[in-house]
Symmetry: C2
Subunit: 334 residues, 2 copies
DNA sequence: CTGAAAGCGCTAACAA
DNA sequence: TTGTTAGCGCTTTCAG
């Protein structure tokens, strides 16, 4: 309502060329004489002209904005996970000159697919319908952290099952017999699969974890604290605990320390994520690394391929997690 | 490139009315007969038609997307502050049917102002130029957490000076004489002013804090840990510490507890923000509340007023912080 | 290498 | 209450 209206026409006027020529220099079309290009550039600079993005999108028939929809349940949002995804998507959008339209969903309020050229779903929790709706519009979608094979979407995930297994494997290899876990949110694939990988491995080793060793958390520090207190209160407390996120691992460690015990001397702890905070707490945390930032970037890149017409369908990819050994896990005492 | 092209015309066709009528029902113009409205709605539903936002924006001459630009320095991003602003802006955009274009800046990569109808700057750190550039385009701007009086922008801030003072005041009223502080990032107004308020009050009380009692942090847990260790290592350690954010307060408390001391029995700690995490740690943290979420919502609301032409200029507002007394601060021992 | 002109999908006078 | 029509600012054939 308020914006000044410097249009391509004003520029053309000042440069004494046609708007077509201005459009050409805007779009780096080579066939413009140096002389004209110079004049146009001068005019653009002088008038501080910025092309109207809506007009460009309309004329091109392409929307160079991508949506990032994030499930809004309490835990996720204050997590390293969410932040890294946002950062990664943001960074990638910037280098690709895409706008990032950010949207938090409660499962019912969809992002209007027509506002964007493609959508990245940062996990899907109770919002599968939204993915389907977007797809129905012809909007390409890609989901992070969730393998979905029955929908025409791409996904970028890590092998959470392998990650859970890896954690258990490492702890067992250290000599632990009593291993507990604080899980992630149980309605996420990541939370579920990390637990499964963890449990399956232990079962295979004939040391299935008893119920009291499995605390169903939600990735928050709050849950981790409760879990840790519960574990420590057991008549037969675990000698090691696997937390499904580093934030939780950090809180478990804090509780242990508060009780006057040592990590890893008294209890070993292993996390998940490779949150830089792992390095700055009381003990450097051993963890399972997942390349969140990179995954987010990759999601944008792939989505952009199809938005810009360079590709027909999104190829999915499953990254492998990686064990990062630091100081919070060691062989049990006796 | 890929999107299906169901346009307003297709809808008009199917409903056997003009596109104008379709446009009218789209925009809730009352003067449409119930009969036609019904037909149009049926057609829209049947065709799953979604208006093309770019075309709407172009035709209306108004861009109903708002930009949120967040400074990208390491500390801020993993902070409660950033998250709450994002949440608040996101929530408000949703209720007002605005798109939120999120942009992280390093100080050099501006958000293209022509992509949005207005911009919210979540603090300005080394990116004042961007605000000026946006303003030059005629794009209305509002900045959060930074009072700026020499530019034609609105601002929504809290009185950080009063907040710092409030913390010092409370601690002094409890009987503390040796009060230290871990500050926020010193190139933010919030960090600076909280420190000033804190220091000025103490000076007025004739108990100016010595240099060793002031640790220049950056809102991160990492700094807080270093600060706490430093404070505790002093020959004359403080009996109370004011942390410029709750995250830092939480970490300070963790360090104290790790050393086998108690909070608040041995040392009192007071934070800033009123992060819900205050409630779930080892001690409920006494803090200075700032209504971040509400501030963010307010910013959107005010920006929208001028974008939608209901107002000419943005009114600024400075909220007052509020002391929230919980368990982490008490009278000193002896 | 350059420009005229026809849209892109929608809104908003203006008539009817 | 409805439809006709002229743009919104830009891209993109198609001639020249």
């Amino acid at each position: 309502m308020n914006k000044k209206r410097i249009s391509i026409e004003d520029v053309a006027h000042r440069a004494k060329v046609s708007i077509t020529t201005v459009s050409r220099v805007l779009n780096n079309v080579p066939s413009v004489s140096d002389k004209n290009r110079g004049k146009v550039e001068e005019a653009i600079a002088f008038l501080k002209f910025k092309p109207n993005v809506s007009a460009q999108r309309l004329a091109r028939g392409v929307n160079n904005a991508i949506g990032l929809v994030m499930p809004g349940y309490p835990g996720i949002f204050h997590s390293f996970y969410a932040i890294e995804i946002i950062r990664g998507v943001g960074h990638s959008c910037e280098t690709l000159k895409l706008d990032m339209v950010f949207h938090i969903t409660n499962g019912f309020n969809p992002l209007n697919a027509s506002n964007v050229g493609g959508i990245i779903f940062a996990d899907i929790i109770e919002n599968r319908k939204q993915v389907e709706a977007a797809l129905a519009t012809g909007t390409p979608c890609i989901v992070i952290n969730n393998k979905v094979d029955d929908l025409d979407v791409g996904y970028i995930a890590i092998d959470n099952y392998a990650g859970g297994k890896m954690a258990a494997d490492y702890l067992v290899s250290l000599g632990h017999k009593r291993i507990a876990t604080v899980t992630g949110e149980m309605n996420t694939q990541s939370g579920l699969q990390r637990l499964e990988g963890f449990r399956d491995f232990l079962e295979k080793k004939n040391m299935p974890p008893p119920k009291e060793y499995i605390y169903h958390g939600d990735y928050s520090r709050r849950c981790a604290r409760i879990a840790a207190e519960q574990f420590l209160g057991l008549k037969n407390p675990p000698t090691a605990v696997f937390a499904a996120s580093d934030e939780m691992a950090l809180e478990v460690i804090a509780v242990i320390l508060e009780k006057g015990m040592k990590v890893p001397n008294d209890i070993s702890v292993i996390g998940f994520d490779d949150n830089p905070a792992c390095l700055y707490g009381p003990v450097a945390v051993t963890t399972i690394r997942q390349p969140l930032f990179k995954m987010a970037e990759e999601a944008v890149r792939r989505l952009n391929f199809i938005i810009s017409g360079k590709s027909q369908s999104i190829k999915s990819e499953v990254f492998q997690p990686e064990l990062v050994i630091r100081d919070s896990a060691a062989a049990p005492k006796h």
